[in-house]
Amino acid sequence: MIPENLLDNPVVAALKDLATAAKLEFDELTVEIAPGSIVEALRRVKKDLQFERLTSVTGVDRYPAEPRFEIVYHLQAIAKKQRLRLKARVASDPCEIESATSVYRSANWYERETFDLFGVRFAGHPDLTRIVMPDDWEGHPLRKDYPVTGTRY
């Protein structure tokens, strides 16, 4: 749900048909996007709203709630000195969202990291492999159901 006081915001207005929710907290704008249209939303903010830089992509695991994962995109408009957070929710099955690499090349490593640590797959990513964990690691450490104590052997 988009609160009425945000409808005038140019960013929210441009994403109105794709957004499912928006909020302005701590002076930070968050727009929640339907997971199927995240690439379209990113393309729009890059082309029309001059958010030149994708600062980071990461995930938040809301286990055991469903849809389980929030994929969070932080963007920056350098000339306008604005920041924006886009968010898309991904269910645990199928745990997949379209890759942003076709819009921002910097998404490459951040998506690999999110895949590595959360197990969220990014469809259309050029090289979706583990980046910080060993290649033969089992499990995805930043998931909330991943144990933090105990031994592996």
């Binding site: 701590f26 932080h74 350098i78 920041r83 490593w109 492999t129 910080v132 033969d136 991943y146």
Partner: protein, 436 residues
């Protein structure tokens, strides 16, 4: 001897065109189906034919400053393809944040970018303070600015020294570490620690100012500008130095923005971007300083830029020293900052607060924030999600080195291998920051 092959040369035609995914048994001998198969031979496929060879640079190569592994495909001296491989220093800090209370998390941030611990402390504290809605006293804010600039000097000095060693100028390192030692003494004076300071805490500073800090800082700012001249004397007009750095390591501004590069690399390409000016935090708006830029966009420009940044940082420290406001070093927030030692001995409430903060931490209201600061290497971002408990629900660390390293292939492909060392050095990455 005709059938003995030169082992250094790989013939692309002899490699299988399609590599079949290999079932990788793990340590227990259990074969697991991996989510995505790494194509190990992909790097060996040549673009230019049988003349190329693959060189594995790192993870122990001295110029990779830590444990960066670079797979380079070479045609003679020329780099055809580069594939950086990171993760050797992954310590799961983001996971660990979730197991620690907010105040305990400060100690983890020191260890992310171990050359700029106070910058990291600052990003983390600002995020938590934003969630808590804390008002930080001026004295604490100014001290934060001063020590963050000392951190910048510290980091730039290590960078200059090691970068010069990489390129072959040994003595610069000794001069740089002479001044760095003084900075570490300042850190030790303030926090009791030379490197892992954890001096900034949520709500202010860990300790009040030490006695006699003004003299030590003043001695430093008085002497430092002349020391920067000394480094410049050693390098700026040095023909070997300019020969190795001028016109080397070019990468277009568009590429850098698209690849998420931040910090001095962008400023050396002419873009005036600095979080300290664009979105001032911790009262940076009260300080008078310039954001230096260069337009040459090569290794030499990045060197000159950082030299100028050191002069500006020194200027900021001087202003902080002269205008240091008086007041408390911690916010007035019982239940979040630890009570004074003396009060604990006489007041019941202080004792209770102390016990509660130490044993279970404090609750932080629900919400999510992203706090960005300008670290020596670029933009450090701390994305913190709170669920209303005493421990962060999620902390994501946007390290500048991680973003900058992504540009390595674009930066070095097509250049010569000797220039790789100079180009990598000019990027100034820290692997602890990359892998977390």
């Amino acid at each position: 001897m005709a059938d003995v092959k030169d082992t250094g040369v790989l013939d692309a035609a002899e490699l299988p065109a399609e590599t079949t995914p290999v079932e990788m048994p793990n340590d227990r001998g259990v074969t697991s189906e991996r989510a995505v198969e790494l194509d190990y031979n992909e790097h060996l496929k040549s673009k230019s034919g049988p003349r190329s060879m693959v060189l594995n640079m790192g993870p122990q190569h001295p110029s990779t400053h830590g444990v960066l592994r670079l797979l380079l495909e070479l045609d003679g001296e020329e780099i055809l393809k580069a594939a950086p491989d990171i993760g050797y220093l992954h310590t799961g800090i983001e996971k660990e944040f979730e197991q620690k209370t907010y105040q305990q998390g400060v100690t983890l941030t020191d260890r992310i970018d171990y050359l700029a611990p106070l910058s990291n402390n600052l990003a983390y504290c600002l995020a938590a303070e934003k969630l808590l809605g804390l008002e930080i006293p001026e004295l604490a804010q100014w001290t934060r600015v001063m020590l963050a600039e000392f951190t910048r000097l510290n980091s730039h000095l290590v960078w200059l020294g090691t970068h010069a060693i990489d390129i072959g100028a040994m003595s610069v390192f000794l001069y740089c570490f002479r001044e760095r030692e003084e900075i570490l003494r300042v850190f030790e004076m303030f926090s009791g620690q030379r490197m892992m300071t954890s001096y900034f805490r949520i709500g202010g500073l860990a300790l009040p100012h030490p006695r006699g800090w003004q003299k030590r800082v003043k001695d430093f700012v008085d002497i430092f500008p002349s020391r920067v001249d000394e480094y410049e004397e050693l390098l700026t007009t040095n023909r070997i130095w300019t020969g190795r750095t001028k016109g080397v390591g070019y990468i277009s501004l568009e590429d850098m923005l698209d690849l998420g590069v931040t910090g001095p690399m962008l400023r050396a390409a002419g873009l005036k971007i600095d979080v300290r000016k664009d979105a001032p935090y911790s009262s940076y708006e009260k300080f008078d300083f310039e954001v230096p830029t260069r337009t040459e966009n090569d290794v030499f420009a990045r060197y000159q830029l950082r030299i100028e940044e050191m002069r500006q940082s020194c200027k900021i420290i001087k202003q902080a020293l002269e205008g240091m406001p008086s007041g408390s070093h911690q916010a007035d927030a019982p239940g979040i900052v630890l009570p004074e030692r003396e009060k604990m001995k006489t007041q019941m409430e202080a004792l209770i607060y102390h016990f509660k903060i130490v044993s279970e931490g404090f609750r932080v209201p629900e919400g999510e924030v992203y706090s960005a600061i300008e670290s020596p290497r670029g933009e450090v971002g701390c994305y913190m999600v709170s669920d209303g408990t005493q421990k962060p629900y999620r902390v994501h660390w946007r390290g500048p080195s991680f973003g900058n390293l992504q540009s390595i292939p674009t930066l070095i492909e097509g250049t010569l291998i000797a220039d790789v060392i100079a180009a990598l050095g000019s990027m100034d990455f820290v692997l602890g920051d990359t892998d977390r």
